[in-house]
């Protein structure tokens, strides 16, 4: 009974909400990429870039403009987020170039991006901070209260003193769902992921839409990384993503390639993640709790939880002149 109440405690749920965010943002990115027909397992590497540039952008801005930061302290973390998004877009561009323009196998390109990101982060960290694995500490955003929700009895503790990035992420989910369902851009993006030849025949540029999908995934995964570094750890350290990029891909699959579905799946994984961080007193070794998200991911992929409905042309390079 004691175990059960601690499993549902507010502190645990609040922590789950926090650790859900990086998974959610990356999963949202994966939705855009895969809806356009490009599998992006390089998202893990892009997240690494996001953690690094998030911390560096934040730190550099605070160093360069101490006066400005003293007046408006939130500008430094904002600079970090923007730097992380820019780095994510740059990495997305490499993936798009290699897979859409050169039509190289998408998995291979993703694997190479992950290797590149790991090496680059270490290298740049040595250059900037003379050591490979860790950046100096950085400041996070000023926590905010959500106007109406903070007065609701049950939700109150969850809506007070939270990161503004959480609010942004939740708005992005709703916005993305609307974009994919209702806008011309969303329809075209889904069309090139389902049946590129038909979309092409109707005058939609498959290349342009796929670039858009991959670049958006890079931007969102970069932002997810910056959340980890700026809002959670308050610094960059090596290996801090812990495979969340891959878990986000699974969350996207579990969420059936829809933003709202990805939200639900990310929340589930976030909960397990929080459980492993909090170490609720359970009668099993801690390592077994740590791997719970990974085990759930496998079960989800194996379809033990639900059947997947992936875009028909997901992972298939498209070219006009052949076949």
């Amino acid at each position: 009974m004691e175990t059960l109440t601690s499993l549902l405690s507010l502190a645990l749920i609040a922590s789950a909400v926090r650790v859900t965010m990086p998974i959610l943002l990356t999963a949202l990115g994966a939705v855009y990429s895969e809806r356009s027909g490009v599998v992006n397992i390089g998202l893990e590497g892009i997240m690494i870039m996001g953690t690094f540039f998030g911390a560096v952008g934040n730190y550099a801005f605070a160093q360069a403009f101490p006066q400005t930061v003293a007046n408006a302290p939130d500008l430094a973390p904002l600079a970090g987020v923007l730097a992380a998004v820019a780095a994510g877009v740059a990495f997305g561009l490499i993936h798009a170039l290699v897979t859409v323009t050169f039509r190289v196998n998408q998995i291979i390109s993703g694997v190479a991006l992950n290797l590149l990101a790991a090496g680059l982060a270490r290298f740049l960290n040595i250059l900037l901070f003379t050591q490979a694995t860790q950046s100096p500490g950085v400041r996070g955003f000023t926590p905010i209260d959500i106007p109406v929700l903070k007065d609701v009895a049950v939700l109150g503790p969850l809506a007070r003193g939270i990161s503004p990035m959480i609010v942004v992420a939740l708005i992005l989910v709703a916005l993305s769902q609307w974009i994919l369902l209702r806008t011309k851009f969303g329809l075209r993006l889904r069309a090139v992921g389902e049946y590129p030849l038909a979309a092409d025949t109707l005058g939609v540029s498959v290349t342009r839409m796929r670039y858009a999908g991959v670049l958006l995934s890079g931007a969102l995964a970069g932002m997810a990384g910056s959340y980890l570094a700026i809002e959670q750890a308050h610094l960059y350290f090596e290996g801090m993503t812990q495979g969340r990029g891959f878990i986000a891909l699974a969350a996207m699959i579990f969420g059936n390639w829809w933003p709202v579905g990805a939200l639900g799946a990310s929340a589930l994984f976030g909960y397990f993640d929080a459980l492993s961080l909090r170490l609720v007193r359970l009668p099993v070794p801690s390592q077994f709790i740590t791997v719970l998200p990974h085990i759930v991911t496998i079960l989800v992929l194996a379809g033990f939880v639900r059947r997947a409905q992936m875009p028909a042309a997901d992972g298939v390079p498209y070219s006009k002149e052949e076949e």
């Binding site: 397992i41 490499i94 290699v98 323009t101 050169f102 039509r103 190289v104 196998n105 998995i107 291979i108 390109s109 694997v111 190479a112 991006l113 992950n114 290797l115 590149l116 790991a118 090496g119 680059l120 270490r122 290298f123 040595i126 250059l127 490979a132 495979g243 891959f246 891909l249 699974a250 699959i253 070794p285 390592q287 077994f288 740590t290 791997v291 990974h294 085990i295 991911t297 496998i298 992929l301 194996a302 379809g303 033990f304 070219s319 002149e321 052949e322």
Partner: protein, 377 residues
Amino acid sequence: MKARLFLLQAAAPVLAIGFGMLISSIIILAIGRNPLEVFGVMVRFSLTRTDSLFSILFKSTPLILAGLAVAMSFRVNLFNIGVEGQYYMGAFAAAFVGFTLRGLPAGIHLPLALLAAMAGGMLWGLVPILLKIRRGAHEVITTIMMNYIASALILYLIADVFRDPAQAGTPRVRTPDVAAAARIPSLAPVFNRLGFTGSDVQKLNALLLIGLALCIVLAYVLARTRFGYEVRAVAANPGAAEAAGIANRRVEFWMFMLSAAIAGLIGLNDILGFFGYLDIDFPKGLGFLGISIALLARNNPLGVILAALLFGFLDRGAQGVQFFARIPKETIVIMQAIIILAIVVAYELMTRYIRMQRKREAEGTPTVSPPAMAPAP
């Protein structure tokens, strides 16, 4: 035409390595150093010293196995990203057999340890391949998840279950020593007789020979046997292979198991060949390097040997560069990643060019100018 195709295939990796060097040169220039000097240090340090040459062979040994393991799954269009976790399990299984059994002769104990390593790898490979074949779960994500699970499990086994009681009270977290009979013999006696001595000569062990033999045997099997023919048929056109009576699933399953079994051996270079116990800090990341090596070698078992030697050379060179030229060795990691990206693009362009040539030949029009580097729009 055939000679030109061969030249083209050889040119792709050379171009990719050149491109990797170019980008690293830009990085080295950007931090205000002379790339020629850095590459000079690298080549001199790696190739003109006996200890470096033996160190390269020692470092290449697990890389050969890792590249071969990944290549075997790639050959049937399966992506075994789980080589990493499979070799953790293999390393543990071998260490377990090594430190629990006592008094066996080396002729029995060592083969038993090798078999245990392969079984450990296969056990870890079994989950993703069965889920792939039975349930359609994509092996890329499931194998990555299995890597994390293996990592946590090994941590638990070494730290909580089989921790060497002799190390209690010390910060060392490792298993008990492996019996001498289960250790892989060093090649030092042979090389000592040839006049090579030193600690790096001592490290080199017979697993290198096992790796080389596996590459040669598998090159033959894939090129010349019935099973090899089936593998090529399934990879080239699964539908046609199935129609011709080749069970795709069976071929895929066994190639994946082969991949996982070879993966199980990767860790043994350090565990049974050098340390003699499984430490919590045993070398990690070799499985991911294997992916790079398989890509560079285009999944050709003999190419794997060359690619592994190249990566062994780069790794050793990186140490030299860090020590003598004081350039972060991560420069070389970045170069490796760039080489991989460049090589896959180069191979893709080459394949496309060859297809175009064939089409032209088939249509009877004369061939035109050499390939443009720019992609078709």
